[in-house]
Amino acid sequence: MSGLGTDAIFIISAALFAVGVFGVLARRNLLIMLMSVELMLNAGNLLLAGMARMHAGAGGDAEAGQTLILMSMAVAACEVAVGLSIVIALFRHIRSVDVSSPKAAQLRG
């Protein structure tokens, strides 16, 4: 990260995460909420990449950060697949993706 403001990685990843949190809290469309979760995961991966670079520059291992990013991406893909299949199954029952509808209250445990 030579020449980069060292603040950039923190600010950008925190902002991306905050946007994802806003999306989950302020929307009632289940698909949009899942997309916001993906944004949050992206923010975490970005921060990991920046920290891996800093760690490698300071004398640590260069591999652990990048491997963790790859694992995180694979887990995110699995989670999206399962989450969307749940959306489809739910849609078949209540014919809507609105989580605030009274029909969706069946999901509450």
């Binding site: 905050a18 929307r27 997309m35 694979a74 489809i88 199954a89 014919r95």
Partner: protein
């Protein structure tokens, strides 16, 4: 230059993410999410991680967002099914929470002086050869012995004979002198898990060349300067090689299938479990006459797949 690009693409990622979560039509949201993923992929490139950038585009933009679009098209949501939006008060509250979270997450990094000083110390040396500055390189003990010998005007073999002592105190003393000698070379020694010592280069490529000349010049009393020259040149070569390999596919695959193979296999198992889960969750009840009533009769009729 890369700082400006980093900020530009970071701002683009955040802005398109914000637009994505505020769209009513989920197709528009998915498209803006695609833009955001692409910008984050460029950011990975700017962080010298080309393999992770490729994975971002392939996995996120090319698989996850595509699956989102598939499901959106499959559901074919009409206007009434999209869902009511929460009242403005709740949205404002969510905005406040998001801002507070942003402050909470960004401030510890911004205020951590220890973390930032590691970078600014490297930046302070100037431009040129910046990538070399940031990467650790393996320093074999033989290198340090060679430099120590040069400083004492000895041949490396003469000094090595005295370092045969393997007792604890002798090793500690040798480590201490090794640190001093490495500091003479402008390196900072840190122990790593691997067998050699690892040195973080604290100087630019040009300054390493100057130090190399200094060390070579100090060998006027010694008959032969070449072992030290070879050692320092080898050090520089290794640093260059490592700088080229950081984040590349070769290096990544090298340790993914050796040190992290268990994690790799576990994630493969997880993907397999996810596939099984998806097939079970999303199948149609009453399909092929299996599984009785609750889904197949009481549910909504009509539609091709539903």
């Amino acid at each position: 230059m890369s700082a400006i690009l980093f900020w530009i693409f970071g701002a683009a990622a955040v802005a398109s993410g914000l637009v994505a979560v505020t769209r009513r039509n989920p197709v528009y949201a998915a498209l803006f999410l695609l833009v955001s993923m692409g910008c984050v992929g460029v950011e990975f490139l700017l962080l010298h991680s080309p393999f992770i950038a490729a994975m971002q585009i392939i996995l996120y933009a090319g698989a996850i967002v595509v699956v989102f679009v598939f499901v959106i098209m499959l559901l074919s949501l009409k206007e009434g099914e999209l869902g009511r939006e929460p009242p403005m008060v709740l949205k404002a509250g969510a905005g406040v929470v998001a801002l507070a979270l942003f402050a909470l997450l960004a401030l510890p990094g911004l205020r951590d002086e220890g973390l930032k000083s590691k970078l600014t110390a490297a930046d302070a040396e100037g431009q040129g050869g910046g990538r070399l500055r940031e990467l650790a390189v393996e320093v074999r003990p033989a290198d340090v012995v060679a430099v120590a010998a040069a400083r004492q005007g000895l041949q490396p073999a003469q000094l090595a004979r005295s370092s045969q002592d393997r007792s604890q105190t002798a090793i500690k003393d040798r480590l201490k002198t090794a640190r001093g000698d490495a500091a003479y070379l402008g390196l900072e020694l840190c122990p790593t898990r691997s067998r050699g010592l690892s040195a973080a280069l604290g100087t630019t490529r040009t300054r390493l060349g100057q130090l190399h000349d200094e060390v070579a010049a100090s060998l006027e009393a010694a008959a032969e300067g070449s072992p030290v020259e070879v050692r320092v040149a080898a050090l520089r070569e290794r640093a260059l090689l490592k700088a080229q390999r950081y984040g590349s596919l070769e290096e990544f695959v090298g340790f993914l299938y050796s040190r992290y193979v268990v994690a790799f296999e576990l994630v493969s198992l997880l993907i397999f479990a996810a596939i099984a889960g998806v097939v079970v969750l999303a199948r149609r009840r009453g399909f092929m006459g299996l599984e009785g009533a609750p889904g197949s009769e009481a549910g909504p009729q009509g539609g091709f797949l539903l």
